[in-house]
């Protein structure tokens, strides 16, 4: 009885189970029966049982106990048992299982079997799940089969060889000569496999690539035969002669012609012929044309051909079939980097595709549009992109938002436009923007000081309208806190001013504080903004005081801490409040994104309060630590540093994790600890030229020596050079000197660093030769240094 009958019975039973639980029960019973039967000795129904097990495996139930049975069945002499055994091996075994090694011998025997179907079973299984060891063992067999067997077996052997090359790239050389010979085959199946094998070999190994470049004329010949041949019933699909083979050959030609002029020249005619003769009304023709276009763009083709290719893509874009449009956009994406202008011509169509209903097409159109944004078309593109953002599917929103931000940053025509765009994105897709948008935006706003008034008006309006978008609310709170006074002044050149009273502003901030929709970070922003307003507004300071003291007992630890600190600021340190809550200075762009410890000192040194309009930067060390905390809007919980207990700025800095940008004021205090100047010993002094030597940093075997030269005489010295020699076994490396001119009267000096590596710890001696030109004459002198000073550190 064929194995399928009993299998069908079981399938029928499983299907008749009405609930999931019933099905599980049936399957468990069947599995138990199968397991029992496996344990029995030789049993005529083994293949049925394994077939049933495979069905159960497909449904998702565990079937690993069938692995040994697969091994046994593969070794059986009967064909149908072998067949099921190999199928089971492909489904249940893989390289991680130990049982897979056991079938290696069976595969080896079957590869030499007389029946080609048994051989094909073995080849198929090896190609599907062959591990690296199995591949190494069986590679010579495969090579033999590649050369002398029927085309049926050759075809399978080539694909098996591809799998082997993927698993064990070194064996590629074994297959190269056979692959070359296979190009002469007539059978399309074998040819197809051979092309795949050659493609794989060329991709892995550049020497093989160079070798196969010689095969380009042969490939061109085959391709030409396919294109010009008439109707062939076996291979024609929709009027195109074997499109699968054509596509493969085109792909191989692409790899061979890349960056190589001679190969590309040989292909030009052929590609032009294919491009013009192929009928693209059906999918098959379109596939071939698409591959041709990709090949043309990738090799060094002549310009006429490139123009033809881009035109074909443009035609594809206008096609009604969505598949074709998707494909053409994918290929345009690949060439937009190199042929930007050619793709720009189709910008209109691409932007229209943004409005297509199909989500895949939309995604492609979005990526392509973002790649096409340039300084010229930024305004129109941004309009389209913002429109897209409001209607796009949710999975594309964050990608679109970040793409818009990048484009806006690179090509913003004006700062006001930039701020407008970002605000627009925040209002439409606020929930999907990335975390660093908020600090970036804050930095941008601070830096455009002339637009503060405008910005704060817009943000206030947005805040009043909607407090659900967290990033927008955070930025709005921060701005109101900083620039609330310009809001109150009620005048603004850029936009219509809003008539607000102090109460209105405080109402808005309180709403944010109390709303359920606000995240803890947002409430932190709002609280700090309220506090800052206490210096900007005049009348309702008591209200602020009361708000702040309420939050002194808030459950959220962060808010509570802030409120307590602000309270203390009101009570005990009222005299410092104004200084502490001063406006922020312009932030230095370069120090954004660095962690506190290192950049605090470095970033600040470049920082100068440039704009005279900005109030001075706080310098006093004490309030600085609180300034750190106040400005740590984005950070996690701070160490409790009450005002008055001046901790070194370093400790408060290390507490904050994310508040990089806004910690710059705190960093002002960080007096950079200069390395202590090591003791310098004068080793040479003659006619005014003085050479000092100092050692630093002795690690076990290497030392750094700095030689400093000064000129105390009345004449300038030029072309000052030092040469040094050290005993054997010591390695010397002289770095470039700081200069070669020594002006008179020691006004400047020349330093040169020397690295000594002393692995054998011999006593260090050095001979230094100086040479310089003074008053027109060259002077040379040598000095021996026998003892080195101990390093200063």
């Amino acid at each position: 009885m064929s194995p399928t009958v009993r299998l069908q019975e079981m399938i029928r039973v499983i299907r008749s189970a009405r609930t999931q639980g019933e099905e599980r029960g049936v399957i468990q019973r069947e599995c138990a029966a199968i397991r029992a039967q496996f344990r029995q000795a030789d049993n005529g129904g083994r293949s049925h049982n394994l077939a049933k097990l495979l069905y159960v495996h497909m449904l998702g139930y565990p079937a690993h106990f069938g692995q040994m049975e697969c091994v046994r069945l593969i070794a059986s002499p009967r064909y149908n048992e072998k067949r099921v055994g190999y199928l089971g091996a492909m489904m249940l075994l893989d390289e991680n299982q130990d049982a897979s090694l056991l079938i290696t011998n069976s595969i080896k025997n079957d590869l030499a079997h007389s029946s080609q179907y048994v051989q094909s079973l073995a080849l198929c299984t090896l190609a599907c799940m062959g591990s690296a060891e199995m591949c190494r063992d069986l590679a010579p067999e495969i090579d033999r089969l590649l050369r002398a067997s029927s085309s049926y077996i050759k075809k399978k052997a080539t694909l098996c060889a591809v799998h082997i090359v993927r698993k064990v790239p070194e064996l590629g050389e074994l297959f190269t000569p056979a692959a070359r010979a296979l190009l002469a085959e007539k059978n399309h199946g074998v040819l197809h496999g051979a092309i795949i094998l050659i493609t794989e070999l060329c991709e892995r190994n550049t020497q093989t690539l160079v070798q196969f470049r010689e095969a380009v004329p042969e490939l061109v010949h085959i391709m030409r035969g396919l294109v010009t041949s008439g109707y062939s019933p076996e291979h024609t699909v929709a009027g195109i002669s074997d499109p699968f083979l054509q596509v493969r050959i085109l792909r191989l030609l692409r790899i061979l012609g890349r960056n190589n002029d001679t190969a590309s020249d040989a292909m030009n005619d052929l590609l032009a012929q294919v491009a013009t003769n192929t009928d693209s009304s059906k999918t098959a023709g379109s596939a071939v044309l698409y591959e041709t276009v990709l090949t043309v763009m990738d090799i060094k083709s002549e310009s006429g051909l490139r123009v033809l290719a881009v035109n074909i893509l443009g035609r594809f874009l206008l096609n009604n079939d969505r598949n074709i449009r998707y494909i053409s956009m994918t290929s345009l994406q690949k060439i937009v980097m190199t042929d930007h202008n050619a793709v720009q011509r189709h910008r209109g169509t691409i932007v229209d595709c943004l409005k297509d209903q199909d989500a895949s097409v939309k995604r492609r159109a979005l990526e392509l549009s973002l790649a096409l944004v340039s300084a010229i078309n930024i305004r129109s593109m941004m309009k389209e992109l913002l429109l897209f953002l409001s209607t796009c599917p949710p999975e594309l929103k964050s990608h679109a938002a970040s793409g818009i931000f990048n484009a806006a940053e690179r090509y913003a025509p004006s700062q006001r436009w930039h701020i407008d765009t970002i605000l627009h994105v925040l209002t439409t897709a606020g929930g999907d923007v990335r975390d660093e948008t908020v600090p970036n935006l804050i930095q941008l706003i601070t830096n455009t000081s002339q637009l503060h008034c405008y910005t704060v008006h817009k943000l206030y309006r947005a805040l009043v309208a909607d407090i659900s978008q967290q990033p927008l609310v955070q930025v709005a709170c921060w701005c109101i806190g900083e620039y609330g006074d310009s809001l109150l002044r009620g005048e603004c050149e850029e936009t219509e001013p809003v008539q607000v009273t102090e109460d209105d502003i405080l109402d808005a901030l309180e709403t944010v504080l109390q709303s359920h929709m606000s995240s803890p970070a947002t409430r932190g922003f709002a609280l700090t903004a309220t506090m800052k307003l206490s210096t900007r507004i005049t009348e309702n300071v008591d209200r602020i005081r009361s708000i702040v003291s309420i939050y002194g007992s808030c459950i959220d630890v962060e808010l509570q801490q802030r409120a307590v600190e602000y309270n203390a600021l009101f009570k005990k340190y009222d005299h410092m409040r104004a200084a502490v809550l001063e406006k922020m200075p312009v932030m230095d762009r370069s120090s954004s994104g660095q962690t506190n410890g290192e950049s605090g000192g470095g970033g600040v040194q470049e920082l100068e309060p440039t704009k005279p309009k900005q109030p001075e930067v706080v310098v006093a060390p004490q309030p600085a630590s609180q300034v750190c905390d106040l400005l740590d809007l984005l950070s996690g919980p701070d160490e409790p540093s009450l005002p008055g207990t001046t901790l070194g700025p370093a400790s408060s800095m290390t507490g904050s994790a994310g508040g990089d940008l806004l910690d710059l004021l705190g960093g002002l205090e960080l007096t950079p600890t200069l390395p202590t100047v090591p003791a310098a010993v004068t080793v040479y002094e003659k006619s005014g030229v003085c050479l000092k030597l100092s050692c630093e940093r002795p690690l076990d075997a290497s030392q750094t020596i700095t030689l400093t030269a000064t000129n105390a005489s009345d004449h300038d010295i030029t072309a000052f050079t030092l040469q040094a020699a050290v005993p054997k076994n010591v390695q010397l490396q002289m770095k470039a000197p700081s200069g070669d001119a020594l002006p008179a009267r020691s006004s400047a000096s020349v330093t040169q660093t020397v690295l000594l590596h002393n692995p054998n710890k011999v006593s260090l001696k050095m001979r230094v030769r100086l040479s310089y030109i003074s008053q027109g004459s060259t002077v040379q002198d040598t000095v021996q240094i026998d003892s080195f000073p101990s390093p200063g550190l």
């Binding site: 064929s2 299907r15 998702g60 075809k155 097409v361």
Partner: protein, 193 residues
């Protein structure tokens, strides 16, 4: 390279699942569920290409699918395959199944999973396209089935008898059989299909 070939019905029940890369059994089932989820959301007149789900490699891999009546045929491929080519390959696969099963329907796939696997093994091997010529594939599959039947021995007798009678060409039988002195007149039976 083709990473996986999945066939499932409109409710997500797998009818065939072949993976050409190793995943654990749980992951395989999750991939099937995830793919069904992604593919079933698609409208009828959108394009046949999708980005792959997270489990099967994310955006490097594409799902190319075709919906026939109650079945989804999904091929998960990476960027080295031509998308339109795979679309055509799905068509060839379905036409081959149609030829082998005579007007294939979902029940055929359900009850003859092993046969479908054998046909697929003639078309795609190790994740790479082996043969695209329908006639060639069918010829090989028929030869292998014949080999299996010839081995079935005595147990296969009923099946063999049925197929022998089916292939019998009654109009060609002799009207009179004369062996020695026995003469049998064969009645004129209607053709047996």
């Amino acid at each position: 390279m083709i990473k996986a070939i999945l066939i499932f019905n409109n409710h997500g029940k797998p009818r065939l699942s072949k993976f050409y890369e190793h995943y654990s059994e749980d992951t395989e089932q999750q991939i099937i569920r995830e793919t069904f989820h992604l593919v079933s959301k698609r409208d009828e007149n959108v394009c046949n290409f999708l980005e792959g789900g997270m489990l099967i490699g994310g955006s490097e891999n594409k799902l190319i699918y075709r919906h026939y009546a109650t079945l989804y045929f999904v091929f998960c491929v990476d960027s080295s395959e031509s998308e339109l080519g795979i679309l055509d390959l799905i068509q060839v696969f379905v036409e081959t199944l149609d030829k082998c099963f005579e007007n294939v329907c979902e029940l055929d796939l359900i009850f003859h999973v092993d046969k479908v696997h054998n046909i697929l093994a003639e078309m795609v091997m190790g994740g790479m396209v082996l043969e695209t010529n329908m006639n060639e594939i069918i010829m090989q599959v028929d030869a292998q089935n014949k080999m299996e039947k010839s081995e079935a021995g005595i147990a296969g007798a009923p099946a063999r008898a049925v197929s022998a009678v089916k292939n019998m060409n009654l109009p060609e039988m002799p009207r009179n059989i004369n062996i020695g002195d026995i003469s049998i007149k064969v009645p004129n039976l209607p053709s047996f299909k």
